[in-house]
Symmetry: C2
Subunit: 113 residues, 2 copies
């Protein structure tokens, strides 16, 4: 999941910052902990992930729930507003399936000159 070589890096559109769209996908099925997000989001550092999550919380896309335990446990969950992005992500995914190969071909042809 979210292999760094995945074609999403060449998509001509993006949801939020680099990792925002992937976070939405990761939370699609339910709440996840900080550490559970670091797995699928291969290569993200804790700094960048926490920044991403804070920005998303600020925009009301996710909710942060900290349990007063020790060791600490924190869960992130999509808000309805965050869920409203899912159709857009789906549309982007559909576009890719249908048109990304053509974009890549065009790029190759252009670079061939």
């Amino acid at each position: 999941m979210f292999d760094p070589m995945c074609p999403s890096s060449v998509l001509p559109f993006r949801i939020g910052d680099k990792w925002t769209g992937m976070v939405v996908r990761c939370l699609e099925q339910g709440p996840r902990r900080f550490g559970e997000l670091r797995g699928p989001l291969r290569g993200v550092t804790s700094k960048v992930l926490s920044e991403t999550l804070r920005a998303m919380e600020r925009d009301g896309l996710i909710r942060r729930i900290a349990y007063p335990e020790n060791p600490p446990r924190v869960e992130y969950d999509l808000t309805p507003l965050g869920r409203s992005l899912l159709p857009l992500l789906d549309a982007a995914r559909a576009w890719s399936r249908e048109h990304l190969p053509e974009l890549l071909r065009a790029r190759q042809a252009y670079d061939a000159d």
Copy 2:
């Protein structure tokens, strides 16, 4: 059109680089010249615009047609691939209309603390 204060700057998604989506919109109704793009895209410098256009041409989103005249005249036109992005832009616009106020409210509430 494309006022720098326009809310698109806070959208949680983006098409390509900063100006790509706007270029697609500008070309929606037909081919436009380099100088005709600089008007609506307020604040873009010729350097950035030419870079954007070259990247889009590379990806097969637009076609560049240079007329061998003097003074030079160049037109840019959306390819079918470029046009295929329009539904995505529409979806983004629809999302904004429906959800952007909520996002901004969440942001304000967050910043109030």
